[in-house]
């Protein structure tokens, strides 16, 4: 049953449905109780499921990330809200040394079914410590899955997979996607990880984009279509695991590849995607692949500077025009 709702409402509904289905799912996070979370993703859940299950935590990321991991090792399926993804930095040990490594280091003795979810990204003038995109960093931590829904329907369907599987997940929302409204197939099957979504079919150039960058790519593609240039937009939806096959197939058709990401371009996942495609489909490429990422500066506060730092539909359009 398709229903129009915001990205926030879609997430909220997905979490609520999953908690109704499985009482091992518990929520930990700052202000997620009565306040419903700073971005209202957990609105109403404290009232419905109670304060033992929707745990309003102190501002102690290391403490409650670690607590979620310990709870996951002993039968629960915690979902941790990270108020701003930037705050992971104070608790990075629990992500980079614990959540992702305990299964492997133990010789596969237990799963670590935790979902770490929250919003990230620039564009709202939140300054350098509330605006960074971390997907590239998280992709360099073997053992954890990296998920970035770009639409309400994906948020709804990907969350279900995240909370139902036995592997730790970093679920990256975008602060400027929360307000977008679109159709959600309520009651749909979970969306599997590692299955890219071809957002728009095209012939001339393949644009790989995640999270908010999908919106930018769609805007650019509209304008380019008026100039007779046809773009294929692929949203991988999950970066770990990554659906290389769909991307490589598309590049074989179009001969051109642009990757758009909001993480900083040096040492980025976009660079890795390009590298893999070049290895697999070099002979199909008609021009050097392009990477559009955030400039290698801390995200500035002032609007003209912030705009200059991050990708935009115009930058994508220019990149395509320079290739075809």
């Amino acid at each position: 049953m398709a229903q129009k709702m915001t990205y926030t409402q879609a997430l909220n509904l997905s979490i609520k449905e999953e908690m109704e289905r499985d009482d091992r799912i518990v929520l930990f996070g700052e202000d997620i109780g009565k306040p419903g979370g700073a971005f209202q993703v957990t609105k109403g859940l404290w009232e419905q499921f109670g304060s033992d299950r929707v745990l309003d935590t102190p501002i102690s990321e290391t403490g409650f990330f670690g607590m979620a991991i310990g709870a996951a090792l002993t039968g629960l399926r915690p979902v941790v809200e990270i108020l701003y993804m930037d705050f992971c930095a104070v608790a990075m040990d629990q992500l980079i040394n614990q959540a992702n490594k305990l299964t492997y280091m133990s010789g596969g003795q237990f799963p670590v079914p935790v979902v770490f979810r929250g919003q990230q990204g620039a564009g709202r003038g939140n300054g350098a410590q509330h605006s960074q995109s971390f997907e590239s960093l998280f992709c360099n931590m073997p053992g954890i899955q990296v998920v970035l829904p770009s639409s309400p329907n994906d948020a709804y369907g990907l969350f279900k997979t995240a909370v139902r599987n036995n592997k730790p997940v970093i679920f990256l929302e975008h602060k400027l996607l929360y307000g977008i409204r679109d159709e959600v197939e309520v009651g749909r099957e979970p969306i599997p990880f590692g299955q890219a979504n071809i957002v728009r079919s095209g012939e001339d150039v393949t644009i790989v984009a995640v999270s908010r960058m999908v919106q930018f790519a769609k805007e650019a593609a509209e304008k380019l279509a008026q100039q007779g240039i046809s773009c294929e937009i692929i949203d991988p939806r999950t970066l770990v695991p990554f659906d290389l096959e769909t991307v490589a197939k598309s590049v074989q058709k179009t001969g051109r590849l642009i990757v758009v990401e909001e993480s900083h371009r040096w040492g980025s996942i976009g660079a890795s995607i390009i590298h893999e495609v070049v290895e697999q489909a070099f002979n199909y490429l008609d021009s050097p692949p392009k990477l559009i990422g955030t400039e290698n500066v801390p995200i500035p506060y002032s609007k003209p500077l912030e705009d200059a730092a991050i990708p935009s539909p115009e930058k994508i359009e220019q990149a395509v025009l320079s290739m075809v």
Partner: protein
């Protein structure tokens, strides 16, 4: 402790001591890689804690945790095989010295990051409370760990949510190679627990009976729903922080002054006075050690073609 229990405690302590002395030899012979951190001198804490825990209880520990896992009765063959990096190791050779894990015996893992396992224990305790299960979680850490944020955050969480967790601080007087007194403003680590209104007690960690008694009582209280408890074990490590430590931070005399109270000798004396055949126990421990070493040496190496196995559970 009755006689049988004391014999068991001595056997565990002797096994830990001989296991770790053997590790030193095997390290020198290049059978063991990386770094090893021995707990020689601290065995009474391990034995007392291990014996006081019920089978369903959980444990998180540290990179100086060989003894804690041995005291949970994981067969030392599998621990020795892990030290030698073999497929038969308790962690299939994927972990090594600092990561002994044995879920079947409630050992949720030894952790190589100081204090990182403490919040895990609090999370396990949350599970017990939420799922209404009967287990208590014990987390063992050193005095140095009380300077970590993870320690303070974990204590606060346990206190605020009144979770069934026992904090066991092994205060061996040295934070790695630095005297703890130089880097904390308190005399006892237990004072730090008081700030979180967690009942705390100081225990002679060189007296296995006292350790056992304190842990048993604390676990009973916790199991009955009284919330977290903190125990500070005053102990001492008779060897360096890690293999190769020159120990320039302490005097020979200081080490000797603790050796006089070595919990193995004092317990052995006590048992001998009760007419127990200590040599017999020692010989039996020696056979176990030899068996573990030959088991480990004869075990197969992990197959490199299975490198990715276990990155995710069940895959």
């Amino acid at each position: 402790m009755d006689k049988e229990r004391l014999i068991e405690a001595y056997t565990v302590m002797r096994t830990i001591r001989r296991f770790e002395e053997t590790l030193n030899d095997l390290y020198a012979e290049n059978f063991i890689r990386g770094s090893i951190h021995l707990s020689i001198g601290q065995e009474a804490v391990a034995a007392g804690v291990g014996l006081a825990m019920a089978p369903q209880d959980k444990l998180t520990t540290t990179y100086r945790g060989h003894g804690h896992v041995i005291a949970r009765k994981t067969p030392i063959r599998f621990l020795m095989a892990e030290m030698l990096g073999r497929e038969t190791g308790i962690n299939k050779g994927r972990g090594g010295s600092m990561h002994f894990t044995d879920v079947s015996r409630g050992v949720l893992g030894a952790n190589a990051i100081v204090a990182a396992g403490i919040p895990h224990a609090v999370g396990a305790a949350y599970s017990a409370k939420y799922l209404k299960e009967d287990f208590v979680t014990v987390t063992i850490f050193g005095d140095g760990a009380t300077n970590q944020g993870a320690f303070h955050e974990a204590l606060n969480l346990a206190a605020v949510y009144q979770l069934p967790v026992l904090f066991v601080c092994e205060n061996n007087l040295y934070s790695e190679m630095t005297p703890i007194e130089e880097i904390v403003p308190v005399d006892n680590m237990a004072e730090r627990a008081e700030a979180y209104r967690i009942p705390s007690f100081i225990v002679d960690g060189y007296d296995v009976e006292e350790v056992y008694g304190a842990v048993k009582k604390s676990i009973e209280d916790i199991r009955s729903g009284k919330g977290p408890v903190f125990l500070e074990m005053k102990t001492y490590r008779l060897v360096g922080h890690m293999y190769g430590d020159q120990e320039i931070y302490r005097s020979r005399e200081e080490v000797e002054s603790w050796k006089v109270r070595d919990p193995l000798s004092t317990t052995a004396d006590k048992l001998a006075a009760m007419g127990v055949d200590i040599n017999g126990i020692n010989a039996s421990v020696e056979r176990d050690i030899e068996d573990a070493v030959s088991f480990a040496k004869e075990s197969a190496w992990p197959d490199p073609s299975r490198l990715y196995e276990g990155v995710y559970f069940g895959e």
